[in-house]
């Protein structure tokens, strides 16, 4: 990453959500560092990583927020959905229970994120094909009916991980472009991330960060 990290045209905030133990942290480490850890420790609260990728003709810095899956952390993690332009809703294809609650996760997301957020349903752990409990078609159908992108991945053997992130980033990018064409002056405001901890800042100060360069 190094200096290339600093060279980007867009920052897209993407959140990783889903039940505890479905592989969110390993999907993230596979994407940002090409690493997989068999005893990846529990995520407590929220952690995040970034990776800058080329999308179309622009450098996009994906700022990916990995969240704890456990119910009791929801009140803390959901505050971090705000300002996200994309979400990967992950379930474990070998544990039907993690798929059964996808609808609840969606509701949670739409309650706290902007309505325009792009959501991708991700069935992880395809390397454990012999233990599959959620048929691909079933999840695919659900995604279609709910206007979600859909993909199956394996963070362990890398299958489709790159593709999952690239697809959602591309979708977000084309949405941003459309929005820019419609109101070129406005985009920074309409897509800006908000402060989940109360607005102690003035818009001027915020601007000092990125806009008025």
């Amino acid at each position: 990453m190094g200096t290339a990290e600093e060279d980007y045209n867009f920052v897209f905030k993407v959140v990783l959500i889903g039940e505890s133990g479905v592989g969110k942290t390993n999907l993230l480490s596979r994407f940002t560092r090409n690493e997989f850890n068999h005893d990846s420790r529990t995520t407590i609260g929220v952690e995040f990583s970034t990776r800058t990728v080329m999308v179309g003709n622009a450098m996009v810095k994906a700022q990916i927020w990995d969240t704890a899956g456990l119910e009791r952390y929801r009140a803390i993690t959901s505050a971090y959905y705000r300002g996200a332009v994309g979400a990967l809703l992950v379930f474990d294809i070998t544990k039907h229970q993690t798929y059964d609650v996808v609808e609840r996760w969606l509701k949670e997301l739409y309650d706290h994120a902007e309505a325009t957020i792009i959501v991708m349903l991700v069935g992880n752990k395809t390397d454990l094909a012999q233990a599959r409990e959620v048929p691909t078609e079933e999840a695919k159908m659900f995604a279609e009916n709910n206007g979600l992108l859909f993909i199956e991945t394996s963070a362990l053997d890398s299958t489709n991980v790159e593709q999952a992130f690239e697809t959602i980033l591309r979708d977000i990018f084309s949405k941003v472009q459309k929005q820019q064409q419609r109101s070129p002056q406005d985009n920074a405001v309409s897509l800006s991330s908000e402060n989940p901890h109360g607005g102690s800042q003035t818009p001027e100060e915020k601007r000092a960060c990125c806009i008025s360069l």
Binding site: D39, I44, F48, R72, I76, L191, L213
Partner: protein, 295 residues
């Protein structure tokens, strides 16, 4: 920016030159002996000199060895070692609502066990850890499991074993960790919010920087609720901190966060992305590095 200021000068100020290695070791050795003696005297006096033990736990080097910790930690928590609970046993697992989650978290905690420990031995301890945790939860239905509780429990288990570990964990759970074990994390969030005002007094520059960066206080959540056990890789460091926290007010981990944060954020090198840019950023004219850390 580490050390706050320009590059550190080597060999400057000959009057303060440290003693040669040998002499330094001897000094440390005699200090250590003094401390061991002090702790021994405090433990054998009648009644036990708890305040002296508290001082020893806080001061340089902490409680020095696990053998001493096994004697002093119970005193710091008023745990009666002559009346310890029995070993938890497997029965605690039956139909417990948190069993699956505890098992999931414990199985993912192999890094918390000493490097080089045989896998079979570690697995035995992991099973004990599950029982230890569920035993407390079963005895106290008002306490709710949180991810990170296992980080505290494993530290106690590794130092004190099943029976003493269980007694220590119970005391901590009903006192120091009590707020984290509410049905919701509201109290925990509230406690985390103490961080910013404390930081404001400790380092106004950092405080203002963090407000500007809009990072919130969530980064310190695991520090607080695991007493840093989740994020530190060195077990001796974790134990040194546990000595300190066991001898201090339950809010000490928050104060501690305000002290470690300046070096973590203001030092150069790879950092958590503390910037949160409004997006997108204009493609051209970016002479100034966006969201740059403090000058």
């Amino acid at each position: 920016m580490s050390g706050g200021g320009g590059p550190r000068q080597r060999g400057g100020g000959s009057a303060e030159r440290p003693p040669p290695g040998r002499r330094r070791e001897e000094l440390l050795g005699s200090k250590r002996k003094q401390k061991l003696l002090l702790i021994h005297q405090a433990l054998t006096s009648d009644p036990v000199a708890v305040e002296t033990l508290r001082g020893a736990a806080v001061s340089e080097g902490g409680l020095l060895t696990d053998e001493i910790r096994r004697k002093v930690w119970p005193k710091l928590l008023s745990v009666n070692v002559y009346n310890l609970p029995p070993k938890p046993g497997r029965a605690v697992r039956q139909n417990h609502k948190d069993y699956t989650q505890v098992q999931l978290d414990v199985s993912r905690s192999t890094r918390r066990f000493p490097q080089g420990m045989r896998a079979e031995q570690r697995q035995v301890l992991q099973e004990q850890l599950i029982d230890l945790i569920l035993n407390i939860l079963r005895a106290h239905p008002e306490l709710h499991y949180y991810q990170g509780y296992h980080d505290i429990a494993v530290t106690l288990l590794l130092v004190a074993g099943e029976r003493l570990g269980s007694a220590l964990l119970e005391k901590l759970s009903t006192h120091h960790l009590r707020d984290f074990m509410d049905p919701t994390m509201d109290s925990t969030k509230h406690i985390l919010n103490y961080l910013m005002p404390i930081l404001q007094r400790e380092s106004l520059r950092l405080h203002d920087f963090m407000l500007r960066a809009e990072v919130g206080t969530i980064f310190a959540l695991s520090w607080l609720i695991t007493w840093y056990g989740h994020v530190l890789t060195s077990f001796p460091h974790i134990l040194r901190l546990y000595d300190f926290f066991l001898a201090s007010h339950p809010l000490m981990p928050v104060y501690f966060a305000a002290v470690v944060r300046p070096t973590a954020v203001l030092s150069p090198g790879p950092q958590p992305p503390v910037e949160r840019c409004p997006q997108p950023r204009p493609a051209r004219g970016a002479e100034v590095s966006p969201c740059s850390p403090l000058p």
